[in-house]
């Protein structure tokens, strides 16, 4: 029984670190999709002045996340509180101004989310290592206490 318990604790610790790493990867992936989408929006407004609904329709790299952004009325929860607010503000203001302002809005957000993506990518290896180590450490401590 004790051995079974130890194995369970050990597996739980491993799974915790796995899910946390996965969460980080999902944030990076969402950030990449968002950047790609905003770049697309910017180009369509700049070159064709297409209405925003047409731009959304034409975008061919729609994922669940992008669909959620397009259809959301109450805002989305994707990365963290501060960046989610920025995303919601961007999609709330897109279309509500003339071309120059819209391009500037897109450029500002492209800059911001590019920096965020770089930071997430740079931090990922270290954070992943830390969580793996910590999960393993707590798992082993729990096993030792049990045994």
């Amino acid at each position: 029984m004790k051995i079974a318990g130890c194995i369970l604790i050990f597996i739980s610790a491993i799974l915790c670190s796995y899910y946390y790493e996965k969460g980080l990867k999902i944030k990076i992936s969402k950030c990449e999709e968002l950047l790609s989408f905003i770049n697309y929006i910017k180009s369509q407004i700049d070159y064709f002045s297409l209405p925003i609904s047409t731009i959304y329709e034409k975008y061919d790299k729609k994922s669940d996340f992008i669909n959620e952004i397009i259809s959301s009325e109450n805002g989305i929860k994707a990365i963290d509180k501060e960046n989610d607010q920025q995303i919601n503000e961007f999609f709330g203001n897109i279309g509500k101004g003339f071309k120059k302002e819209q391009i500037k809005l897109c450029e500002y957000n492209i800059d911001r989310f590019s920096n965020l993506l770089e930071k997430l990518k740079n931090d990922y290896p270290n954070k992943a290592k830390v969580f793996r180590s910590m999960s393993l450490f707590f798992g082993i401590c729990a096993i030792i206490l049990l045994v």
Partner: protein
């Protein structure tokens, strides 16, 4: 020669479309007002910031009890632009938005200037939404005249603004589209007011949102029309394009603003057209306020010098 034509009109489809486009609360208020007061059609919805809406309904000015706040007029403006204000920049700087289905909304506010050019508009203060009508029989007289001359006459319709020249053209486009022996005709519809679902035509070449003068030239060069229909000749460039088209053998039906025949022939931009017999007839259009009939006055221009 004077002739009176009575007409019936219908605005249901365009009105329904408009209500679906504007903010829900505003649309519901307008429909409730119309249903309570049993108006059969409306021509215009006039909105001013922090004021009550006026309608032109059943050819009468009507004050409503619907108050328009600053937030309401801004959200209506955004809604009329379909959520994409930048996409309507070209027309907004001209003072209007083409909403679709022939509906045109005039807008004004505070201009944002970039040097001498208007780069945008802010603080919207007024919106005037014109709803197209299908006026059955409005063009009967014009159509009969054209038919008598085998569609080989050029006509110039004149009247003060707001009488219904565009509605006549709209009805005429439908009549021409339904001819058993089709003719090749182009419609120059710069403000997207002539071609509507009512007057959708499968037999005509429609130039939508083009600058008028350019569209007339393009139509003449590329679509080989027998007839070109064009609303509101108001500039020298447009008059010049009409002149060139007629010298390429194209017949024209055009409109212009003028209160009387004397005012028409004294307009400097039209002088080259009238003196060169570009138009065979000038037809004055009038309508008494509140009445449902047009009066036409025919003036032969051929040999008019």
């Amino acid at each position: 020669m004077r002739l009176e034509i009575k007409y019936k009109e219908k605005t249901d489809e365009a009105l329904e479309y408009l209500i679906s486009r504007i903010p829900r609360e505003l649309g519901t208020s307008i429909m409730c007002f119309l249903n309570e007061n049993k108006y059969s059609f409306i021509n215009e919805i006039r909105m001013k910031k922090n004021s009550f809406i006026y309608l032109i309904a059943d050819s009468k000015n009507v004050k409503t009890d619907i108050f328009v706040s600053e937030a309401c007029i801004e959200s209506t403006f955004e809604a009329l632009c379909g959520g994409s204000i930048y996409a309507h920049y070209d027309t907004i700087k001209e003072g209007y938005i083409s909403v679709g289905q022939g509906i045109r909304a005039g807008v004004c506010g505070t201009a944002v200037m970039d040097g001498t050019l208007i780069s945008g508009i802010k603080d919207i203060s007024s919106i005037n939404i014109r709803i197209p009508q299908r006026i059955y029989g409005a063009s009967n007289y014009i159509f009969t005249l054209l038919e008598k001359n085998n569609f080989k006459s050029s006509l110039l319709l004149y009247s003060p603004p707001g009488v219904g020249k565009t509605s006549i053209l709209r009805d005429l486009v439908i009549r021409l589209n339904e001819l058993a022996t089709p003719i090749r005709f182009s419609v120059i519809d710069s403000r997207e007011e002539i071609i509507t679902p009512h007057s959708f035509c499968s037999n005509c070449d429609a130039f939508l949102s083009y600058p008028k003068g350019t569209a007339i030239e393009l139509a003449t060069k590329s679509m080989t029309p027998e007839l070109i229909i064009c609303d509101e000749i108001s500039t020298e460039a447009e008059a010049q394009a009409v002149f060139k088209a007629s010298h390429n053998g194209v017949k024209l039906i055009a409109t212009t603003h003028s209160s009387s025949y004397n005012e028409l022939i004294s307009k400097s931009i039209l002088e080259p057209l009238l003196s060169s017999n570009v138009f065979d007839f000038a037809i004055g259009v009038s309508r008494k306020y509140g009445e449902k009939s047009y009066k036409f006055t025919l003036n032969k221009l051929f040999n008019e010098a």
